[in-house]
Amino acid sequence: MTVPPVSSLITALKPLFGNLLSRACGSALCHRRHNSTYAARPIIPPPAQYGGRHTVTLIPGDGIGPELANHVQELFRFCCVPVDFEVVHVDSSMASEDDINNAIMAIRRNGVALKGNLETNHNLPPSHISRNNLLRTTLDLYANVMHCRSLPGVLTRHHNIDILIIRENTEGEYSSLEHENVPGVVECLKIITRSKSLRIADYAFKMAREKGRGQVTAVHKANIMKLGDGLFLECCQEVASRYPEIAFDSMIVDNTTMQLVSRPQQFDVMLMPNLYGNVVSNVCAGLVGGPGLVPGANYGEDYAVFEMGTRNTGKSLANRNAANPTAMLLASCLLLDHLKLHAYASMIRRAILSTVTETRLHTEDLGGQGSTSEVVQSIMKTIQSNGPLTVSK
């Protein structure tokens, strides 16, 4: 039985059997999805719902991860958000990859995840790959999107920043391909491919168009890495020609960081390979107020994983009720937007942003003395006073 007849059969039988049939035959459609090449436009399935509720994988992670994950669950329960969390614990210190493989399986099942950062002990041998990296590459979450925006009420040196950072998430310097041919000489491979560069460039321009952004800046070091970054730049230029309404320019990474700390307002959408993305996203997060304020999203063709933008474990803040929950809670709003629960997303986001402007509730990282639970309580109170009926405590 080939696929097209199945889908037409489903549409014919839908009024009779409802969603049941589409879920049963969904796997056949999935198979077609995975085989599609870059050229074909993938069919994004609607978020899986059962009884009107979504199931989302939740990976608490290390450091401040578990406490923030609890706050997210608490807030969602309070707001009666139709999301159930499937919690998967991953022990990052274990040598075996079973834990992370379980997590990956759970994400494949549910399609969406919210995760805390998994710590990587860099003193372990190279066979122990970073768990976060493994997750990203296995699920092919090729686009990392971080929106850095100046928030009112947060004291920073620069104002009016609104930068959308799109970073290639699976190749580049993070290929984890290293070898030592001669003792004392190590080679690390940085891989840049045409297909992935085209893919991320297309994603960036598409997103710029959707959000009404006027300019995309590609960040590179093609004057030194002529072939590698040269290929990346070439792919960006090729894609840019297909979007004539969006201005495209490029900038070398060291000049970019210099411009970011002197005049960050000149940037709109920034597109770059993996490592430069790491640097630029951390610089931008620092410019708008720190790691506690910016959420991040990792999108693939079939899966989406949401996390804190700068991927910190926050070991020094763990279990002290001092971490800033804003980033994780905003990430959960991005999650709700992805699940098309826009009403809940805007309600929670509005409450979070109004709480952030209250200086007396600022946590340690923003220079205040507020605690995590105080911030979450304030958000819940705001929602209660403005929003629909919530669970009474």
């Binding site: 003193n123 030592e180 000489v185 190590v186 002529k226 990474v253 970011l260 700390v261 951390n282």
Partner: protein, 385 residues
């Protein structure tokens, strides 16, 4: 070797030979003289005589800012005489690109060099001039001290750090291949020898300039073997310099914290690419490349100090250039040579002039000419003890 380095080298040798300075143990004056004589043979003893420094004016605004620096040094009565040389790329025997032999001979003799901006012509067939210099003199360390300048305000007022960057290998090894059409591989090379050299230089610099801590910047969570090797060599070097605090920090954490609170950093040591990005980030914090000094340290005691800005061909020859970057690099050179007093006087004069805001060049927000700015600094020198 700098004055401080010389002193510390003597003390180290005495410690090694179990002689002490305070006179408690047997203190053989003969031994000290022997040490000093041995060191004299290998190093330059900077006495009160005139030292010769190779000056490479460069292109564009290079000649005018070099003249400005020479004038200021004359006004400050610094015991330095200049030997001007030009650097171009010429094809040597065997087809390799080399610098002119008189320039090379001058540098090898004088060991100290001051360089203005060099233009890199596109499609000239030869590699960039900076790369050529780096290869000729094995300039393995690029040092960039970044200090906030009072009078040239930026949003960051409390920067006082030094970035030390490995300058020969890492991501800039230039080894790239096209594996199949559409797949490119770029090789990042990290060797134990180069990492050891840069780590030891970083600690030596920290000790000589009385800096409290050295932070190694890496990404060993992702690049386990390469940055792991770099980190291990830094740790080994830290063992030999117990008086200096050693910390390790991920590149992204450094970037995050740098833009929020740069005062927490002191000396940063890192491989090539991270160094390139971070040193330019720090230059941006204090006001840009027009006010940032830079030094390149090579093997065999060679050191070339340079301004890292471009040649600015649009203002070349119009007496509008800002000589601050080259001047501060020259001050760095004086410190390296052990002429701390002259360095302090010139730096104070420069900072005072900028703080006064009466004779600033265009890029600093004023409208004076380069010669007026230079004159103001020379005047300031007269007021400083």
């Amino acid at each position: 070797m700098a004055g401080n380095a010389l002193r510390s080298a003597i003390v180290n040798l005495l410690r090694k030979w179990r002689l002490s300075i305070n006179g408690q143990d047997k203190f053989k004056a003969k031994e000290v003289l022997r040490v000093a004589a041995a060191l004299k043979k290998d190093t330059r003893m900077f006495s009160s005589g005139m030292q010769t420094v190779t000056l490479i004016p460069g292109d564009g605004i290079g000649p005018e800012i070099s003249t400005a620096v020479m004038k200021i040094f004359e006004a400050a009565k610094v015991p330095i005489q200049w030997e001007e040389r030009n650097i171009t790329a010429i094809k040597g025997p065997g087809g390799k690109w080399v610098i002119p032999s008189d320039a090379k001979e001058s540098m090898d003799r004088n060991k100290m060099g001051l360089k203005g901006p060099l233009k890199t012509p596109i499609a000239a067939g030869h590699p960039s001039m900076n790369l050529l210099l780096r290869k000729t003199f094995d300039l393995y360390a690029n040092v960039r001290p970044c200090v906030s300048m009072e009078g040239y305000e930026t949003p960051y007022a409390d920067v006082n750090l030094v970035t030390i960057r490995e300058n020969t290998e890492g991501e800039y090894s230039g080894i790239e291949h096209v594996i199949v059409d559409g797949v490119v591989q770029s090789i990042k090379l990290i060797t134990e020898r180069a990492s050891k050299r840069i780590a030891e230089y970083a600690f030596e610099y920290a000790r000589n300039n009385k800096r409290a801590s050295v932070t190694a910047v890496h990404k060993a969570n992702i690049m386990r073997m390469s940055d792991g090797l770099f980190l291990r060599t830094c740790r080994e070097a830290a063992e030999k310099y117990k008086d200096i605090k050693f910390t390790e920090m991920y590149l992204d954490t450094v970037c995050l914290n740098m833009v929020q609170d740069p005062s927490q950093f002191d000396v940063l040591v890192m491989p090539n690419l991270y160094g390139d990005i971070l040193s330019d980030l720090c230059a941006g914090l204090i006001g840009g490349l027009g006010v940032t000094p830079s030094g390149n340290i090579g093997a065999n005691g060679v050191a070339i100090f340079e301004s890292v800005h471009g040649t600015a061909p649009d203002i070349a020859g119009k007496d509008l250039a800002n000589p601050t970057a080259l001047l501060l690099s020259a001050v760095m050179m004086l410190r390296h040579m052990g002429l701390h007093d002259h360095a302090r006087r010139i730096q104070t004069a420069c900072f005072n002039t900028i703080r006064d805001k009466k004779a600033l060049t265009g890029d600093l927000g004023g409208s004076s000419k380069c010669s007026e700015f230079t004159e103001a600094i020379c005047q300031q020198l007269g007021y400083i003890e």
